[in-house]
Amino acid sequence: MNLTWQLDGWIIVAGVLCAVASALLGNFLVLRKLSMLGDAVSHAVLPGLAAAFFISHSRSSLPMFIGAVIVGIFTALFTEWIRRFGKVDEGASMGVVFTSLFALGLVMIVQAADQVDLDAGCVLYGAIELTPLDTVIVAGHEVPRAVVMLGVVVILNALFVALFFKELKLTAFDASLATSMGISSTWMHYALMILVAITAVASFESVGNILVVAMFIVPPATAYMLTDRLGSMVMLSVAIAAIGAVLGHLAAVNVPTWIGFRSTTTAAMMGVSVGMLFTIAVLFAPRHGIVVKFVRRQILTLSILADDIVGLLYRRHERQESHNAATKTFASELFASRLAVAVAMAQLKRLGQVRIADEVCQLTESGMQRATDLVRSHRLWEQYLVTEADMDTSRIHDKAERLEHFTDQPMRDDLDEQTHHPQRDPHGSVIPRDEGTSR
């Protein structure tokens, strides 16, 4: 691996700038359910290029840029109009608009093609690998043109997000509240769309459009998995985008060599690496990650199962029966898998709430306490549901079975109070007394 600053340095800088510029705005696209807009704009700018060519009769970059931006804005406008006036779903109206514009652009380009070599690729679809070759002089240094342009776009977007943060936030989450506070959500929308078009076109021209389409969506979505605050979401998305861009170039240079190739497209690898970051976030995000949620659910299931086990033992104890310690019997009585019962039993034993002697399972003192609380909750709930909620006796058990696991001491006291300190539940079983509040 030999990276040179002149080449790889500038490629990475251009990638990072593009990623940051896109991610800044992408947050609001994701929140406004406009994620597909980047893709739509990237296809729709074609007629802009053709029109610019027809009007200016040149292939210079500026008219093309302006034409593309204008059509990009039109894409957003048409999508919004069709959505509003035709009452068509956002995705569908986007689909209608970008395919039609693309087709229009094709027809226009074909008309122009024989006249002169209209080379859209030269004008608008740059490759990130070539950025270091096209330089301009800035303050005495040779800087790639793409870096200059993307730098300007980053500053523009950052200023926009910083200055209108409150407005953007309000319009993204509660457009009607924003309107009632005197913020025009329509104008915020259009301002955002204009910047999206500028960012998209500037990025296509310098680094290619795979990168910008990915960077509009993936970093913000990753950040959205990680946080619930918009401020930190924007910050995180920028950081993720930058990291993804750097990793992407390194991966493009290195990964293919592991399987016998030289290198591959940097922009694509940047997209892939930010996709990797997203995958990690989806799986392991502290609050919303799939794995984390799964583990949390398993822990809850286990604690409920443990509750059920001590409850079962308590009821056996009430009837002066003993319980076989075999996992199988618990599993069949509690409708749980043997594995789950075994894990729950191990947990109970570790906590010292259950002991097993001579194949018989017994509650220890602390286990007895836990079971008493649980059964008391259960029976108080049953009493409450019958007396206060007018429920049929045959239906209360299931409800109480669910509620018992989430009932704490103060709530039990409340229930006790509300049901006038009952002695027995509707089925006639004794409601165990609380040790603390013996009445």
Binding site: M36, L104, Y125, A127, T264, G271
Partner: protein, 503 residues
């Protein structure tokens, strides 16, 4: 050769020839002649009869001769026949499937899965090449694309159901990351000794050459499968689209249904993709369905209209391109579909913009007329001391103006309209009810007051507010409802033709 420039691939230069590739479903003879003669002549040399034109800067489309038109309309040319038949079948299938995906708010699913098929294609190619088979054989690539598309769709559904991300974000993520992965793999494939990637990415963008007989056959088979699936599972899909939870509660296996619907989308998209290209495929899935939505509220009608519009768009577009060789057929099909969409959006019978505007205007007019008549009737009542009015006095417009918060212009306009409808007479600055107008006004006032009474008696609305509430609803009271109100209020002491105002 292909479309690399479009997605910013490693190649920067776009040859005009590559632009030809964008033309998707061109008849064979057209493509060939165009590729050869594009820069030399404007006119269609495929037809010997066409008079030669000389200017190479001529941008006008050459009008087709009668023979050309006939040859296209009668489907005389074999390739035109294949293309039009293929596109028509694809239009039906995509229109049908698209109407379900549209209602499930997954209109852009086709776009996402088409992009997602690229890594599938490249993987299939690499595997096949490494195993020593021909990587570019159509079945290999088709299977790879289908697998890639299915994985993409599965991930989209998974992301949406298992995380807090919304549908559109899930679509966008799968689209961009999968596509990036595919391009990255393409970058590597280009370095393979025996497998230059040429033609691989054109799989996604439609083929350089026109639709062949094999393509046509493939499309027909896939379309028949998709149409058959939609027809057989129509009821279930309908339930899935409108009320997934209800369907689930009725014991319909929603997950399997969803999977099979998505499977049909993948099938149609992948098969269409390699024949007609990505953009056209997306357009065929989205536009006809979205257009059909404007015409009807019934699912089966929507599906049929959507299929019909897809077919019309496909056939007209392909025919236009066959007649005017300078118009690329894929783009023409999209544009015809877009025109149909625009027409539907404006003129659609049940949701079109015009119909909705008309409906609203009619309601507004009726509301204004009701207000005018009731205002005049109540003015005639004077202070409303319990006597129902029998006379039809002349009322000054200025007096009426003060009865409601309406502008003079509004009032004037309502008066004029009511005059032309025969409810009202006018005599310099004063207006009076005609006999018909009087009867109508009495019944309107009665409705208003009945509703007021109802609100006071049964809905516990304060008398001070009741006028406003009654105002809002009186215009939509059905005669049956008025009768019911009467029954309800039968025991109330004030049961006369027009109850006294409770104010």
């Amino acid at each position: 050769m292909g479309f690399k420039w479009w997605h910013g691939g490693p190649r920067r230069k776009l040859e005009v020839e590559e632009l030809r590739l964008l033309r998707t479903t061109e008849p064979h003879w057209l493509t060939r002649s165009l590729l050869v003669l594009l820069f030399l002549t404007m006119h269609n040399t495929a037809f010997a009869q066409s008079p030669p034109t000389d200017s190479i800067t001529d941008r006008r489309a050459t009008w087709p001769t009668w023979q050309q038109i006939r040859s296209v309309v009668m489907l005389e040319d074999y390739n035109t026949r294949v293309v039009i038949l293929g596109v028509a079948m694809l239009g039906i299938a995509a229109g049908l499937v698209g109407s379900f995906t549209l209602l499930r708010k997954r209109a852009l699913m086709g776009d996402a899965l088409a992009h997602a098929s690229l890594p599938g294609i490249t993987t299939a190619f690499m595997l096949a090449t490494w195993l020593g088979y021909n990587g570019k054989s159509l079945p290999t690539l088709l299977i790879g694309a289908a697998v890639g598309g299915l994985i993409g769709v599965g991930l989209i559904v998974l992301l949406k159901s298992q995380t807090r991300l919304k549908q559109d974000t899930a679509l966008g993520i799968v689209l961009s990351v999968f596509f990036a992965l595919g391009v990255a793999m393409l970058g590597m494939i280009q370095q393979m000794k025996n497998g230059h990637a040429a033609g691989l990415e054109t799989f996604i963008y439609g083929k350089t050459a026109s639709m062949t007989r094999a393509d046509g056959l493939l499309i027909v088979i896939a379309s028949v499968v998709a149409i058959g699936g939609c027809v057989l599972l129509f009821k279930e899909f309908k339930l899935l689209c409108f009320d997934e939870d209800f369907a689930g509660s009725r014991g319909v296996p929603t997950r399997w249904l969803d999977m099979s619907l998505m499977g049909l989308v993948v099938l149609v998209t992948i098969v269409g993709l390699q024949a007609v290209g990505l953009i056209l495929m997306v357009a065929l899935l989205v536009i006809p369905a979205a257009s059909a939505r404007f015409w009807t509220e019934k699912m089966w009608q929507m599906a049929i209209i959507s299929a019909l519009l897809g077919t019309i768009g496909g056939v007209l577009g392909a025919a236009a391109s066959a007649l005017f060789p300078r118009l690329p057929s894929g783009a023409m099909i999209v544009l015809v579909c877009a025109a149909l969409f625009l027409f539907s959006m404006i003129c659609g019978r049940s949701r079109g913009v015009l119909v909705r505007v008309l409906r609203r205007r009619r309601l507004n007019r009726r509301v204004h007329r009701d207000h005018l008549l009731r205002g005049m009737y109540e003015s005639g009542e004077g202070d409303g001391n319990g006597e129902a009015v029998q006379s039809r006095p002349w009322i000054a417009v200025d007096t009426l103006l003060q009865r409601r918060s309406w502008s003079r212009r509004e009032l004037k306009r309502s008066i004029n309209r009511a005059m032309s409808e025969g409810w009202v007479r006018s005599d310099n600055g004063t207006v009076g009810l005609t006999v018909a107008g009087f009867i109508e006004a009495a019944s309107l006032t009665r409705q208003h007051r009945l509703w007021e009474l109802y609100l006071i008696h049964y809905a516990d609305v304060a008398p001070a507010r009741v006028d406003r509430d009654a105002d809002a609803i009186e215009h939509v009271l059905e005669p049956e409802l008025v009768e019911e109100l009467e029954l309800l209020l039968e025991k109330s002491p004030i049961r006369i033709d027009v109850p006294i105002s409770p104010h």
